[in-house]
């Protein structure tokens, strides 16, 4: 680690941490899942409203470190209006960026690229992943009609 702190806490990440987007609770959610990293103490709830195969609205409520809060907030911004298929592709790309690998099918990540700095801090990768894993687990449970008892990246 050492000195490259600003690589982790980039301006975009700090902005999402201080002013998280998508915090308002949804009235009626189609997809809902909770994620929890008990070792860190991070907790997140992701809810989606899906209409004609697209994410119509999203809420992300997160208690956690700057990285997990910012990642959740960026997720809310990034997937609103996207199709479920697009959402899955974005999530796969984020995962690849965080573990320093190439995604199978690259998509434009825009602001989300700021999460790239996290891969130099291996212990913090799970923080950035929590919201995305919670989202994808929730979506899969919704698609298969199975109940989901929460997610974790620890």
């Amino acid at each position: 680690m050492g000195d490259n702190l600003d690589d982790l806490y980039r301006d975009i990440i700090m902005d999402h941490y201080k002013y998280p987007r998508g915090k308002k609770k949804l009235e009626k959610a189609d997809v809902k899942n909770e994620g929890k990293n008990p070792v860190c103490g991070d907790e997140i709830e992701v809810s989606l409203k899906v209409n004609s195969g697209k994410v119509e609205d999203i809420s992300v409520e997160c208690i956690g470190c700057a990285i997990s809060v910012a990642s959740g907030s960026m997720l809310a911004d990034a997937i609103r209006g996207k199709t479920i298929d697009e959402v899955k592709k974005i999530a796969a790309n984020i995962k690849a960026v965080l573990i320093g690998e190439k995604a199978e099918e690259a998509v434009e990540l825009g602001d989300l690229e700021a999460l790239e700095g996290v891969n130099k801090f291996p212990v913090r990768v799970k923080c950035a992943l929590l919201s995305w894993t919670t989202l994808i687990d929730g979506l899969e449970a919704w698609e298969t009609g199975e109940g989901k008892n929460g997610s974790t990246t620890e």
Binding site: M1, G2, M14, P38, G41, I63, C65, A66, I67, R124
Partner: protein
């Protein structure tokens, strides 16, 4: 950061004019303290997790493998005789260190966790039944919690907890309704690894014994930092780890009262712990080897000897005094910082040098990462005491913990880093 340190430096020179204990000289004995983290000098404040090792310990490990390496107790050659003598010498030295118990009563384990597991699995399974009670406290480390939860699940025995008050001190007001006649064991930490609280073990031991219970004291956080006398506290079991007191990792101890250890079945079976083995029969070795199956961590035990020499040469009273001063200074400096909330007792006499705190809304993990970028190593999280941290209404805390080589200057660096973190994470 530099300008903020000036005031602290003057204060430091004034405070460190204590004769006989010279942390600056001590630092020179710890090679790791000269390393850099990025471009910063290492400020190591994670001593409750593990301490650094002096040159004498590092050399002892090295020299064991260079000139003495042999298995203990069985060989008839020079190397085996030397390694056995050095291994048993480490045991004797340790037995003296905790108040002069018999060597036979001191079992060498991997760590305090393993020591408690031996008691829970061997003594516990034999002596605890449904309807019995196991008494712990609300401030226990998982090491003194999970083995008992597992035993309770297995036997149906109930768990009861001595509560803590708002200061993080054990509340003994209703102790008679907690340590009841059906209580078979009272097991508690001598010093909390989260709150720093020093518990009145002698008093609780008397109450436990009056109820007919066995009394276990977890000394993982206390043995490194203060004089310990197992006989004075009248403990039936006492456990601690070498790596938290200058020694190597993978070495711990279980003291047990001789008659109780003799009444227990072995925990692990194999070589060393037996006397005679036939195809259909085995009986057990005498104490302490009955509980030491397989080749032990010989190098680790031998490496612990110079650690004890080091602590003895400083004197545990002096170490305790030094840490009291550091802790008082840390509480004073941290209390001045906007956003900081310190947990645990404020009275220095009733606490050790593990100081847990939160810093406004900043997550402790962000704080630890931020301080690390300035070379400062602290711990952040639940400190293997999830129920306690939850009880405090938190998910995690940050913790700074001190040892013999720490100075007020380290605390000045911590304070400056925390003030800086407050700005970095967007609080003015």
């Amino acid at each position: 950061m530099k300008s903020e340190n000036t005031g602290g430096t003057i204060l430091r020179e004034k405070r460190e004019a204590t004769a006989g204990f010279d942390p600056e000289a001590i630092m020179a004995d710890f090679p790791i303290l000269t390393r850099k983290i990025g471009s910063n000098k290492l400020v190591y404040l994670d001593n409750a997790a593990t301490t650094q090792k002096p040159t004498s310990v590092i050399e002892a490990l090295n020299s064991y493998y260079r000139v003495m390496n042999a298995n203990v107790h069985r060989g008839l050659h020079t190397l085996a005789e030397e390694s056995t003598a050095a291994f048993e010498e480490a045991r004797r030295k340790t037995a003296l260190f905790i108040g002069g118990v018999k060597s036979e009563e001191l079992i060498i384990t991997r760590n305090a966790t393993e020591s408690i597991n031996i008691v829970a699995a061997s003594w516990g399974r034999k002596n605890i039944r449904r309807g019995d009670r196991i008494v712990l406290t609300e401030m226990e480390h998982h090491a003194n919690l999970v083995p008992w939860i597992a035993l309770s699940k297995e036997t149906g025995a109930e768990l009861a907890y001595i509560p803590i008050d708002s200061q993080g001190v054990l509340d003994l007001e209703n102790i008679d309704s907690i340590i009841t006649d059906n209580t078979k064991i009272v097991s508690l930490t001598q010093m909390s690894n989260v709150l720093g609280t020093i518990n009145p073990v002698e008093e609780i031991g008397r109450i436990a014994h009056a109820a007919g219970a066995v009394f276990l004291v977890d000394g993982a956080q206390s043995a490194p930092h203060m004089p310990v006398n197992v006989k004075a506290m009248d403990a039936d079991f006492y456990v601690f780890s070498a790596h938290k007191m200058l020694g190597p990792t993978g070495i711990g101890f279980l003291y047990g009262r001789e008659n109780i250890l003799n009444s227990m079945e072995p925990f692990l079976y194999g070589g060393e712990m037996i006397r005679e083995v036939r195809y259909d029969y085995a009986d057990w070795n005498i104490l302490p080897w009955k509980f030491e199956a397989g080749t032990p961590n010989i190098a680790g035990a031998i490496g612990f000897s110079p650690a004890l020499d080091y602590l003895n040469s400083l004197g545990m009273e002096s170490i305790r005094d030094h840490e009291k001063k550091l802790t008082a200074y840390a509480i004073e400096r941290l209390s001045e910082i906007k956003g900081i909330m310190i947990y645990g007792p404020k009275d220095i006499e009733s606490r050790g040098g593990a100081v847990s705190f939160t810093h406004g809304e900043i997550h402790p993990h962000d704080l630890a990462t931020f301080l690390d970028s300035r070379g400062i190593a602290i711990r952040a999280g639940h400190h293997c005491a999830q129920p306690l941290v939850k009880k405090l209404g938190l998910n995690a805390t940050a913790r700074a913990s001190f040892y013999i080589y720490n100075t007020n200057s380290d605390i000045d660096d911590l304070a400056a880093g925390l003030a800086e973190a407050w700005r970095y994470f967007g609080h003015g």
